[in-house]
Symmetry: C3
Subunit: 273 residues, 3 copies
């Protein structure tokens, strides 16, 4: 796909972002060699999950490698807009600059590199690409997944709903797509339900498993310390979205590695039901 080929071109590409870079627009920026954004108005987002799809032109590959697992899952499954400073903190872009300084900064950097001997610059980009760019098979598989998902009735329905409200035309939906994508009235077939630790038998089982590595029990209790600034909640509260069937199935298998506590004392823990 184009964004993937762009990352391989033997020139240095610098993306300068003002306003919104979402979906394929963000994926175009992500395929460039550097991304600098206007602090006051740049917005980044991959809204595809909100319509039943996923980023199919490199977004998953680039964001996962740069943001790491938890931030990439937030950005991609949350499908929300990120302002420029949060995007910098997450490693989504190189950095933000005041809008007034953006052009001068990028021009100076481009001219600077333009004056260097080409062999070293190209060899460096090649070496960095070799360590960071996805295998074409990953790109193709994301793309195929995207095309399959956008063809699903539930995705078509949401895309049509957004299109009727103004997707891809200048207006409120585009300017606040992060909100708009979550305002779909129909809720049939949503990921839901939402549950917190207490209401997750499989996670409750998990707690036991963790206490068998000797520390999680401590976490809740220390978190519950009455004095001091730590509130009465457990140290870690997990909210899950979905039914966890997978884990309960997985959890049905007893885990030998859990029958021994780190304190040496045996503890008989069954994971799952």
């Amino acid at each position: 796909m184009f964004p993937h080929r762009l990352a391989h071109v033997p020139v240095i590409t610098i993306a300068k972002v003002r306003g919104r870079a979402r979906g394929g627009g963000d994926e175009l920026a992500l395929a460039c060699d550097m991304i600098f954004a206007a602090r006051e108005n740049a917005v980044f987002g991959q809204f595809e999950s909100g319509t039943g799809a996923l980023p199919g032109a490199g977004g998953i590959q680039h964001l996962t490698r740069r943001l790491g697992r938890t931030r990439a899952i937030e950005a991609i499954t949350g499908a929300d807009d990120f302002d420029a400073d949060l995007a910098e903190r997450y490693g989504w872009i190189n950095r933000t600059l005041p809008d007034a300084e953006l052009d001068g900064f990028v021009e100076r950097l481009a001219k600077r590199i333009a004056g260097f001997p080409p062999a070293g610059v190209k060899a460096a980009k090649r070496a960095i690409n070799d360590l960071t760019l996805p295998h074409p098979a990953n790109v193709r598989s994301d793309s195929a997944m995207f095309l399959g998902l956008v063809a699903l009735p539930e995705s078509r329905e949401r895309l049509d709903y957004l299109a009727n409200r103004g997707l891809q035309t200048l207006g409120d939906v585009e300017c606040d797509l992060g909100d708009a994508v979550a305002e779909y009235p129909g809720r049939g077939g949503g990921v839901g339900p939402v549950a917190e630790s207490g209401r997750m038998p499989w996670l409750a089982a998990g707690r036991c498993t963790c206490s068998c590595v000797g520390v999680f029990g401590e976490t809740s209790r220390a978190g519950a310390r009455p004095a001091g600034d730590a509130p009465a909640d457990p140290g870690v509260t997990v909210t899950a979205v979905g039914d966890g069937a997978g884990l309960q199935a997985g959890a049905a298998r007893p885990r030998r590695s859990c029958h021994r506590g780190s304190n040496g004392r045996p503890s008989s823990v069954r994971v799952g039901r």
Copy 2:
């Protein structure tokens, strides 16, 4: 192990951290799909190295992939507590929020994702997991290493010492475990000694090696610039903990690639003694 399976469940899990998340408790959070923490009171830590062990339930795998080599080595071998903001700067968690906003933020995010069509969300999590989660063999090897290390007499001794002082019961040891773990009176068999560059023959040899790539000499001298804000110390001072026997052995081998200076002039440098 449970934390490893948790990362694979076909639901989106969001960890909300207040108070202390250490050891297995932190590893439970690390296995979730996102981690948000209360800025005022959340504390993260993997204290295992302080007791002779290492994180055996995913901590090494997750932290290394998210924090990168030097920050992961600091977090894991330093075994200290990290406050929420430092944890965010290091990429340990997604981000911190004021305690008062934490519940609302996570609830909104969870409900938002709950309303999206499941196929895209689950496919995205699977694709991100494929790129970021460790191979089960790595998880098993960390776990086996953990179980072997906690069984060593020196580890048992330190764990017993901490247990007698209140490990895993609500109190000072738990609330300041980062300090407590370093207060062990016995020092037999510690990693030590500590040495600075000057006192490291093998590193001094290293300096020569570096000067043969033509730049390190500069670093010290420029660092020593009398005027300006750069102090008189060498640009880079290395502190080493341990005896460096490994390197001296390694350094005994002459390195052909070092017999040429970057300036093209031949330079005869011997590495090591």
Copy 3:
């Protein structure tokens, strides 16, 4: 090479940086297990690209893994100086500390680790190294590339020019090497030219490709929103340095995956001229 072996030594090494750590000096720091820098005066840089070469002693391997693709390309092909705080934001170092606190912080951390049982600390470093250090083949290939590039006439010419102006001797060139390296009067054989999106037919073609995944068109238009804070520029402006011949060649191939819009409506897009 020495820096590569240093990363493998069975001791914990902590680099303390004051003043300038550039080229091989920075690569020595990067090979240590942790890097802490004086906020007021530490400077990091890999200036090699500015002289026609690339970092040949681990810089590419370490920076790419820590900074991610776009930040590593900026640091390495831009060949500029980074102050300590920016280096921390990019993940180049663990973190910065006030110069006055640096020695005490590193001494405390080193003594702390020195007191821990060695088995766990060494096993943790080994496990983290296994996940993060480059294969020796990568190190050798960077080194060979470096030696080949510095031998090129255009590199020799620039290095001689800098040497005559004071490279590796205490003075202005060393203290502001980031600027000095870009002040080479001759411009023969530079990477150039510099072009912005509008003047890149191959990127213009790219825009079409992106609009066929249904989103990039939006980006420009939303970016062009007259009201609001988003300026009239396209959301993403790409500046390219070099001639893009590679992409135009690549772009000549029609891409089947682009003949369908995400909105389900067929769109006939030809990539390239």
